[in-house]
């Protein structure tokens, strides 16, 4: 009986903790090339406002950041610095790889003596956002996928156990209006704490 009680409590805490984690992702101010310009435009400018998703508090220190948006080409010399930044971030930490360069080396795949072919060679990645660079909507789509992943995935009892990396590609033939509509719907839908049907540890529900 004691176990059942514990598991009941833990699942509700999971949902609450994951909800708060998903809605207050603090990104690290880190960017290396053109994707970073696009990311800055998405995160700080008024038109595409990342504050709607609770991820606008860009931190200059890795010790205060939760989310590492790797925006831009990573070369061999930057690789060790990137790894160090990742290691300095406190747990739980999430990584988004935006753009073709960070996913697979992009246009520098062939005949390049410096470019790292995909940052998953260096650090673990949660969400890949394709594009060259990705549109702000693409970045937001990746962020929403990450939020969904956080809400459904990790539990307090098993920290660090996550889902496999997700490729957050926008579905083809989607227009800007579709994306805006979907984002608006998701914003309404995902702004609530759902204690039922969200957490994977549903032992208590089956027993009841």
């Amino acid at each position: 009986m004691a176990v059942e009680e514990n598991s009941f409590l833990l699942t509700t805490v999971d949902a609450l903790v994951n909800w708060s984690r998903a809605n207050s992702l603090w990104p690290l101010a880190f960017g290396t090339s053109c994707c970073a310009i696009e990311m800055m435009m998405a995160s700080t400018a008024a038109r595409h406002d990342i504050a709607r998703f609770g991820a606008e508090v860009v931190r200059p220190s890795p010790r205060q950041a939760d989310l590492l948006i790797v925006a831009g080409t990573i070369v061999k010399r930057m690789a060790s610095r990137l790894k160090r930044l990742y290691e300095q971030m406190p747990e739980p930490r999430y990584v988004m790889a935006t753009g073709s360069c960070t996913i697979a080396g992009g246009p520098f795949y062939y005949n390049s003596y410096t470019t790292v072919r995909g940052i998953d060679e260096i650090i673990p990645v949660d969400v890949f956002v394709p594009g060259c660079p990705p549109r702000p909507e693409g970045l937001f789509y990746g962020l929403l996928v990450l939020q969904r992943m956080i809400k459904e995935g990790e539990s307090v009892a098993q920290p660090g156990v996550r889902r496999k990396p997700v490729m957050a590609a926008l579905p083809p033939a989607m227009t800007l209006k579709d994306i805006q509509k979907e984002i608006a719907a998701l914003l309404v839908e995902r702004s609530e704490v759902k204690t039922r049907g969200v957490s994977p540890n549903r032992i208590w529900e089956e027993r009841a």
């Binding site: 061999k76 010399r77 062939y110 003596y113 410096t114």
Partner: protein, 157 residues
């Protein structure tokens, strides 16, 4: 070549007769023998009638077939509102050149970059280290015969 460029060229030739004009380069470009480079550069900057006080850029070209490196210096004179391109050729086997960092201090960085990527050793350079690549990097990547097992070749069918 315009009239003004012709007068500038004759002024340069009066200090060093071995200077020749690079024909067909599209811009005002002269070629200097490598042992006279520092002397000519000093004249170009310090002469009151020329006053090329700004070193815009410095780069190198690897002519592998001819067995030589071509060093290119882009200069600018505020006084004349005139650009000039100074080139010099050094043998590929002994890639040594004299540094112009005492004339233009910015050349210190530009020469470090060229050393980093082409492996040209500048004599009298105050701090000749790698700039972009790691200190323990082997080889010079922009040379035509550079080989690196890390690099992937695109195989065209």
């Amino acid at each position: 070549m315009s009239e003004r460029e012709a007068t500038i060229f004759s002024l340069i030739q009066s200090c060093c007769s071995e200077v020749i004009l690079n024909e067909g380069s599209g811009s005002f470009s002269i070629q200097v023998p490598s042992e006279k480079l520092v002397f000519v550069m000093e004249h170009l900057k310090k002469s009151e009638s020329l006053a090329f006080v700004m070193l815009l850029d410095h780069l190198a070209v690897d002519w592998k077939e001819m067995g030589e490196f071509e060093l290119v210096y882009q200069l600018y004179s505020f006084k004349l509102d005139q650009r000039i391109e100074v080139t010099t050729k050094i043998p590929r086997a002994i890639p040594n050149a004299h540094s112009v960092s005492r004339i233009w201090p910015i050349a210190e960085w530009q020469e470090r970059e060229v050393y980093d990527l082409f492996g040209i050793y500048y004599i009298n350079h105050p701090d000749l280290r790698r700039l972009f690549l790691e200190d323990d990097w082997k080889g010079f990547p922009l040379r035509k015969d550079y080989e690196d097992p890390f690099m992937l070749e695109l195989v065209k069918e």
